[in-house]
Symmetry: D2
Subunit: 136 residues, 4 copies
């Protein structure tokens, strides 16, 4: 159910905000403000180790590197309850990017992400905090 309420903003600030909205492709202020609110909530969710939510690991690595794909697959299999899906893309003859979607507690996802990212041969890795959409 949608609730409507009014807020007050100084006109100079509002005109700056309206410009930002247009640049970023928003149609209206409500949608943009809802996104700012949701970002703040997702940020807060990830501050607690116990939150059950969604996270995505992005890895870039050289698939020619001996045994690397096997090691990464092994780590994923040991945490099979956390792993939802993965997407593999070929960047060039050497490099691929693997994106792994996880669902679990923040602590569990951080632990698996650390193991994947620290594997020798992984060139770059990051854990992206996301959300189940439920609370927001």
């Amino acid at each position: 159910m949608l609730k409507r309420f009014s807020i007050t903003v100084d006109d100079a600030l509002l005109s700056q905000f309206d410009k930002l909205l247009t640049n970023e492709g928003y149609d209206n202020r409500s949608e943009a403000i809802r996104d700012l609110i949701r970002n703040a909530l997702v940020h807060q969710e990830w501050e607690s180790d116990e939150t059950f939510t969604i996270g995505t690991v992005v890895l870039v690595y050289d698939h020619h590197k001996h045994d690397l794909m096997k090691k990464l697959t092994d780590i994923q299999h040991e945490s099979v309850n956390l792993i939802v899906a993965s997407l593999h893309t070929h960047l060039d003859e050497h490099f691929c990017q693997e994106i792994i979607v996880m669902r679990g507690t923040v602590a569990e996802m951080k632990r698996v992400a650390d193991r994947l990212i620290s594997t020798s041969g992984v060139k770059h890795g990051q854990l992206l905090p996301s959300t189940t959409g439920k609370r927001i």
Copy 2:
């Protein structure tokens, strides 16, 4: 080709670093230091609008929302040269997560990411800076 060189670090700092490595699953200092270096380089790459590289957009949205999937697909088709692949996962009866891998300049990827994230009905969206692996 690998190059070997030596660095000096205060022993108190080194022992803290070794603990961090173990926590995060690294086998050796070289690998961990290489990852710190690569992170600094990817961060720098993304400071310039002209860098040609890889980025990933993660969107969470309610797939029941009228026309939303069509709008998101339309935006992707208009930027078809940027989009490499996408992965769709179902989070529950309502929400899905869509991950879109892009390859292009930082400026182009930011523009498309802004349009996707600002679409009404998208609950949460983020652009994740990545790398082609080539320069690092």
Copy 3:
């Protein structure tokens, strides 16, 4: 001049937001939303090298280290037009923290901050993006 306008937010999202507000000490939604808007604008200001604004460098270093204070002072004097003020605090027998307030373009402030932070003996350094308050 204050402007009033109304926005619509789903009630589940709104109740989460109200909890967050209370935790962070906000009295009302307007103030919290204005702060979210201002953060987005400051973030955007700092994406352009030419923006004339305010930044703060925080350095932690060992003041016993030979010549370090002199070097840091020299760098500040070479950029005297940028430096507004600085605050020195003693953390313990060895370490001090120095906070340097700068006013200038983003590019100039980043250059001076890089020089200060990279000086040998500086244990930790960061550049904090701030704002003149004018545009927001």
Copy 4:
């Protein structure tokens, strides 16, 4: 006491890193790598609410605003054990920046920072994680 050890880095990565170092004003690789290590440790320290360390709050506000300075001072006095020092700079006829150095646990500093930043009339506020220098 300094310890020396050697690491191996691919030459392409190393040459990128050497360019970055030069841009940022570093004299040598050791110093740059030590800074990357320290940043990782400070980041980790701040992930635990119990860490006793240093933090800095930066506030921008309009000093004409009725009672604002009094409110901010009151909050600081209630947390007098946390507050080490503060620095006030005048940005123009209206705005000032106040920088407040705190020493305490991460949880305590976050709580006080939230209260200061959420005070009505504060245009922009941030908490900057720092370090006592001891562990790093």
